[in-house]
Symmetry: C2
Subunit: 222 residues, 2 copies
């Protein structure tokens, strides 16, 4: 049942109400408009999902990745890796049904210990919250969708010999440290696989979309 799209923005409104048709039309538009030719084939579904989440078809030009990231993701999720997020918005954008049953998706930002820890370490709450990931960080999935200081602190923790996550999704957003923290992730000398968007753009929706796409592929794309 194909709806006629109204060009008149007044009621009665004509718009697509079928979720499958919405997904189909959306991904079809993304595929028609976005240039993915510089990306490895296994990242196309992820890039499409990222564009879908932000509405910007020029996003792929800013993507940076390590070649092993999709394989690392499949392996980590298959092993039941926990998913650590810097903010609740990322955790709430992750679709639980895409992850293996029982996967722990965790944000520690609002833990009672965080304000004291931030004061003690002389850093932000977002960075201090990363300290609470330590005991389960080895082999875990990390999705940073907001705070540059969380990503920097994570890299410092690893540089100091701390546990290594299976891979890192780097999507801090904004004007102070966001681009720099992602450049540091991209240049990480620890061999940790990553996917990131260079520059100021980023955000919780992209970070969550990357988790969703890497966890289970894109069934609606196949």
């Amino acid at each position: 049942m194909r709806k006629t799209v109204s060009s008149d923005p007044c009621p009665p409104y004509a718009y697509e109400k079928d979720p499958s048709a919405i997904y189909r039309q959306s991904f079809s538009t993304v595929r028609a408009e976005a240039d993915l030719s510089h990306l490895p084939q296994d990242l196309h579904p992820v890039a499409i999902r990222l564009i879908h989440a932000c509405g910007m078809t020029d996003l792929p030009r800013d993507l940076a990745w390590s070649d092993g990231v999709t394989a690392a993701a499949l392996d980590a999720f298959a092993k039941g890796a926990a998913v650590f997020c810097d903010v609740e918005m990322v955790a709430h954008g992750i679709i639980g049904s895409r992850l293996p049953e029982g996967t722990d998706v965790r944000c520690t930002l609002n833990d009672d210990a965080v304000p004291g820890l931030a004061a003690k370490l002389g850093t932000t709450r977002s960075a201090a919250a990363v300290e609470l990931w330590r005991s389960r960080l080895e082999g875990a999935v990390v999705a940073i969708g907001n705070a540059p200081t969380a990503l920097f602190h994570l890299l410092e923790l690893i540089a100091a010999g701390g546990p290594k996550p299976a891979f890192i999704l780097g999507f801090p957003v904004g004007f102070v440290g966001a681009a720099e923290s992602k450049d540091a992730l991209i240049a990480n000398p620890f061999g940790i696989p990553f996917l990131a968007v260079r520059g100021r753009r980023g955000g919780s929706a992209m970070a969550a979309a990357a988790v969703n796409a890497l966890a289970a592929g894109l069934p609606e794309e196949k």
Copy 2:
């Protein structure tokens, strides 16, 4: 204490860790780079907060608003209006401490009644979830950060004589209906105040940032 910013993306990392300094530098960059001259003065703090949330200084060119929106917002929040969000990500991006104590921030998308209601109404879960706002929608705050169908359904509900929210924040994102639903909000013949971003851009972070900015002004901006 001014940190030296490292141009080397390798450890040890030099970056700003002081939350106040991060906010200050961030808003200062936004103010230096963004053109807000076409916006009314009372929307400048909101526009700055929106840019801060998405990292894109060209956002103001796509903003659309009704003149009464900041006054409507102050009035609604002062009266203890509930805040209805289309997705959990928006609800979790709203900073509770900016709202009057006891403000109810509500997302009904995951309510048990929603899948059945969506099937019955022949629409998306996002649109069906709006039906559950009815009893408290009159005078409420609405923040849509994801689903065009939620915004269209809300406008239909109002067109049919349903309760009117105090104002609507329109930030659906994406390729199918997002731009059109916001055009419909902007053209709404019901006299409902609004703030929206035209086109495909939008998202939960912007919707939440708009609530945060309109609820309490921007203390760190003053």
